[in-house]
Symmetry: C2
Subunit: 334 residues, 2 copies
């Protein structure tokens, strides 16, 4: 049984979609139990009328709520009775295996490291994001947790990311690329120049060299290693360019009669493309290297996305990925 | 008269397109003179049969050629009789006002700083790229020249970029955004956290705060300031995401009959969009803060792009942007 705490209060559609997503996940798998953490008075009415296995669902009353826009550090220190703090504390105490939140990314990242805590040997816990590519998808790690890191940290990310891709998605020998601004070893900044030989010498991963940003959308590598500033820029550019291009295409089509008709005809094909070219089906972004799995689901997650994010914790637990990460990092450091 | 040296040997379509582009630029403007630097035996036959004002065109015989893939530092030290080294030396000696090349970016960046030389007070010379946005275009500075820089360097980029946007494109009071991974002042890494208050306190620029990567394609600011690693990732993600999306759209449309018909109907509209959403019409990427203008044109430039890149040097010279940069940096440092 994998024990999952769901932050019922975080996200644009909380608590309704969070509660519905949790119930949906419980219906889909008999191997999970869910703790809904949040304001009980708001959660309980939402559960009424839904059918689920009550022995695997409980509500943890957390009267305080962390709002978006609050300073993460301050919010965590002050709101000790929030779903986020209480949920992450359960991870540290090993009372739960995973924590899923659609709430404030900043608070989750700070709380993940300071409250849930890192596995022995792990220096920084990265946030990994699954991004769609022409070939399928890649894991971008670190996509937003730790800025100004050292080459050694990137090496740990490569190991953790490889294990995640292998055991979560069955990619046997995942390739690892270092996000860089050129393909040759000596290209880049001080960090990437130091990281390159370190990654090349790391046992147990398949390092294939630098991955230029230009090649990321085509699928440059299964695991894309970088520090968080770069990772976040990659992630957000992905989002931004796609959004702007689609809206510009729409505008261009509407500006002519032929375009409008053509636009109607291509709609079904484009819809299929958008579904394929979307990371939604892969669940939320995992924060790796902690005493449990912490998953950041998108802020605008609805029932289905919450359910998917919860079920990914099942796979994580079923494959003992936490233990595998701890062992691999142990070997790396010994 | 603006004196422009054109690297006849660099680029995928050199020397033919470089020579034709130079002649085209001479025909379009009477206020420029062009030195074609490169292997005279290859250039001269290409000039035969073309009509141009011979008093404004000369050939500088440079027997050595820097190949793509050569180590920039090594190539510059060794091939002193290459078009790149000879051309940049003319900038340093004030025998020319501008140098345009479609050749090796690495060699041009190294040569720009070490041979052409920086203006007094300029600590690093950034490469600026014009990128298309939903609103028009933005100047991304530094898009690839200097990694691992200091906040002070970013401040100089902001000043240089603002002057370029104002005088080259007539944008009266260009907004300046700091490329960052969040909107609040305290967001980002050590560099951006130090740069933010510095930019906010800089006179003569209109700093509007952080620009998140996600908002760049919509047109977050006229001038986007960042260090070169980030800038290059932004630039290359732009290219990569757009390329992959368009090829995926094509594939999706071809997979159904309706899609195929629709695809034919939307072709003209999309072509218009691609033209608008292209930086080609704005010329090459200028390297700013040097003893003259150095322009990196795209490696696959054909006649028209070479001509545009040459004519942008005319605007640069006509508005005395070099002097304006030197004066502004002088005031900043005094």
């Amino acid at each position: 049984m994998i024990r999952i705490v769901v932050d019922a209060m975080g996200g644009d559609h909380a608590p309704a979609c969070n509660v519905e997503g949790a119930v949906d996940a419980l219906q889909k798998s008999e191997d999970i139990s869910v703790v809904l953490a949040g304001q009980a008075e708001k959660i309980r009415p939402l559960l009424e009328g839904l059918s689920y296995d009550a022995s695997r669902l409980s509500v943890l009353d957390c009267p305080e709520v962390i709002e978006t826009g609050e300073s993460p550090v301050f919010a965590i220190q002050k709101k000790r009775d929030s779903s986020l703090v209480r949920g992450l504390r359960m991870i540290r105490e090993q009372e739960a295996d995973a924590f899923v939140s659609c709430g404030s990314t900043g608070a989750l990242l700070v709380g993940g490291q300071t409250i849930a805590g890192r596995l022995k040997g792990v220096q920084r816990a990265p946030l990994a994001a699954v991004i769609p590519t022409a070939k399928g998808f890649s894991l971008l790690i670190d996509s937003g947790a730790n800025v100004d890191v050292k080459a050694k940290n990137l090496q740990q990310y490569a190991v953790m990311g490889s294990l995640y891709m292998k055991h979560m998605f069955g990619i046997e020998d995942p390739s690892v690329g270092l996000v860089n601004i050129g393909t040759e070893e000596e290209k880049g900044n001080a960090l990437t120049r130091e990281a390159y030989p370190l990654l090349a010498a790391t046992e147990g991963i398949r390092f294939i060299g630098n991955a230029e940003a230009r090649d990321i959308p085509e699928g440059a590598a299964d695991v894309l290693v970088c520090e968080a500033f770069t990772g976040n820029v990659v992630l957000k550019m992905y989002e931004g360019v796609a959004k702007t291009l689609f809206s510009q295409i729409k505008k261009a089509l509407k500006s002519s009669a032929l375009g409008s008709i053509g636009g109607l005809l291509i709609k079904p094909s484009l819809k299929g493309l958008l579904t394929t070219f979307s990371a939604d089906t892969k669940g939320g972004a995992p924060m790796l290297g902690l005493n449990g799995l912490v998953v950041k689901a998108h802020g605008n997650s609805k029932k289905d996305q919450v359910s998917t994010a919860i079920l990914q914790c099942l796979d994580f637990g079923a494959h003992d990925i936490k233990d595998k990460i701890r062992d691999a990092i142990g070997r790396l450091e010994s």
